[in-house]
């Protein structure tokens, strides 16, 4: 043992490393303080500007009225249960339909060519049509045909439209995941004797789906918001309930109530998505960055 090695052993850390850590700590504190002060200044100034503006009293009255908030809340909450039901059912169906379409698009058997063409055309066409137009076409158009055995309920067609529309997007998300799995994985699976379908099911998809969970959740945040579109078909969901209240009172607080209810659902989901992305990054980089 040399003299130089002795202190290292007693503290378990070289003086250089200790200094470096202390420096990093002070840097962190400093950036935290700067961040807090700059946020305070920016948001504080904004708040002062808004509150002292001449129209503030009127805005406060028509957008932030506590009485209207309380009065409209029960009805809107009741309507919001419909939103939740609609997108929960839609989400499950979308996951299934889109996965099927994605697998078809990535299939290689020449026998499946017509299906592959159909899936590609479906994604191209549906993704290009605004959801609101699809809603009119499905919700008013198909029931008007008076076909035998076709359901006529508004909620059925609302969910059907959302499934048709969002499946086209989610198919592409799945497809990106499937294509991101390296070709060697498939080759290795085939060399072990798995069929093409088996290697897709047991080797490619498990990796692909895990990779696309964050973008999938992102699409579902959008789906939750779009559940308000079904009001067009007459369904009294949260947005329509608030619109009825606003039309009666000319007070816009009811819209705020609906917005808050949507936020209560979408913000936790957005945070959860961020958490998953971070976790995934850690796994990919081995936690070294």
């Amino acid at each position: 043992m040399t003299e130089a090695e002795a202190p290292r052993r007693s503290t378990g850390m070289s003086p250089g490393r200790a200094r470096r850590l202390a420096f990093q700590r002070s840097q962190r504190r400093r950036s935290l303080a700067i961040g807090a002060i700059s946020s305070l200044v920016v948001f504080g100034t904004l708040a002062v500007i808004i509150v002292s503006s001449p129209g503030w009293e009127a805005v406060k009255e028509s957008f932030f009225s506590w009485e209207d908030f309380k009065a409209s809340f029960p009805d809107i909450l009741y309507g919001f249960r419909r939103n939740v039901r609609i997108f929960l059912i839609a989400e499950v169906l979308i996951l299934i339909v889109a996965l099927l379409l994605a697998v078809i698009r990535n299939s290689r058997s020449p026998l499946l060519t017509p299906l592959r063409l159909g899936a590609t055309a479906y994604v191209d066409v549906i993704r290009g049509i605004p959801t609101i137009i699809l809603l009119y076409l499905f919700g008013f158009g198909i029931p008007a045909l008076d076909l035998q055995g076709v359901p006529n309920s508004q909620e059925f067609w609302a969910i059907a439209t959302l499934v048709v529309s969002y499946s086209a997007y989610v198919t592409e998300v799945y497809r990106a995941g499937i294509e991101s799995v390296h070709e060697s994985q498939r080759a290795a699976a085939r060399s072990l004797g798995l069929t093409s379908a088996q290697s897709m099911r047991f080797v490619v998809l498990p990796q692909a789906v895990r990779r696309v969970i964050p973008p999938l959740l992102n699409d579902f945040v959008a789906l939750q918001k779009d559940s308000a579109l079904v009001a067009l078909l007459g369904v009294q969901e949260a947005f329509r309930k608030s619109q009825i209240y606003v039309a009666k009172t000319f007070n816009f607080t009811a819209y705020l109530v609906a917005a808050l209810l949507f936020l209560l659902l979408t913000i936790p989901l957005a945070r959860f998505t961020d958490y998953l992305i971070r976790r995934q990054q850690k796994r990919v980089t081995g936690g070294s960055l």
């Binding site: 028509s62 029931p143 078909l233 007459g234 009825i244």
Partner: protein
């Protein structure tokens, strides 16, 4: 000099007081001479209505500027009383849901089957009523709802109306159906849903219901009209920005117009729908 200005000011205030107290005391307060009118656009009378505008209120194809349809005819008659030629009337598109919201207006008045209600009156001003309106129920003549003859019998059905309308209020407050009514952005959407069989019955104002049953939706019929009580009941009024002095002049013009004759000309065929009295 100063004294006389003060006198004029006081006089003006007194007159303005008379005008608001009297409601329709236009002749005392505001001058309704054409050059004295406060207008959105100089030299033209700007009138708002929704697009598409439907018969029997307007001409569907030609738009509001044809003078065809009851409301178009009333609007041009008012314009004439105020001293405007037909060429000096300009129409702007105002969606129904925007019309009675508070705030600045881009029209001198809006005429779009808007019922006068106390709630709306807080945000805008209305002219005197130019039409006594009854709500009406539209249904298919071969469906179960066609047999209903009382309000109670209507409760079991799936009804619909446009959002923000007195028709919707009528469903909720008077009929009080067992299933929640369906509520649409526009009457056009509501008619599409009704035509697609998603509703048992659609509540509209009577002339509109009559037109829809006669022209637009085959197999539909006006199952009932619900008398609202004539001059004491529900009325359509022209809508003004809150505090617009033009309102008093339009009221004066309306008083000089033979509304009954115009009604006879455009809406005469709506009277023979079956009646359900509101208990």
């Amino acid at each position: 000099m100063k004294k006389s200005i003060a006198l004029i000011a006081v006089l003006g205030l007194v007159l303005a007081g008379c005008a608001t107290d009297g409601g329709d005391g236009a002749e005392e307060g505001v001058s309704c001479e054409r050059e004295d009118l406060t207008l959105v656009q100089e030299g033209v009378l700007t009138i708002g209505t929704d697009e598409p505008a439907f018969p029997p209120w307007f001409d569907f194809d030609g738009g509001p500027s044809t003078g065809t349809g009851f409301e178009s005819a009333v609007a041009y008659a008012v314009a004439e009383e105020l001293g405007f030629t037909a060429e000096e009337v300009e129409w702007v598109v105002v969606p129904f849901n925007n019309s009675y919201a508070p705030g600045e207006k881009e029209f001198d008045f809006d005429i779009n089957q808007i019922s006068i209600t106390a709630e709306r009156d807080e945000a805008v001003d209305f002219s005197d009523g130019y039409y006594n309106v009854n709500q009406a129920l539209l249904g298919f003549s071969d469906s179960d709802i066609a047999a209903a003859t009382t309000i109670e019998e209507l409760r079991a059905f799936r009804l619909g109306a446009q959002v923000g309308t007195t028709s919707l209020d009528f469903i909720n407050d008077v009929i009080q159906p067992e299933t929640e009514p369906l509520v649409y952005d526009t009457n056009a959407d509501a008619k599409a849903a009704f035509d697609a069989g998603q509703l048992d019955g659609l509540v509209l104002d009577l002339p509109t219901a009559f037109y829809v049953s006669a022209v637009e939706i085959e197999g539909s019929t006006v199952i009932a009209q619900f008398p609202s009580g004539g001059d004491e009941g529900e009325q359509f009024g022209m809508l003004f920005e809150e505090g617009n002095p033009l309102r008093d002049c339009v009221n004066e013009a309306l008083a000089n117009i033979d509304l009954a004759a115009l009604q006879q000309e455009w809406l005469s065929d709506v009277v023979d729908a079956p009646v359900i009295e509101i208990s």
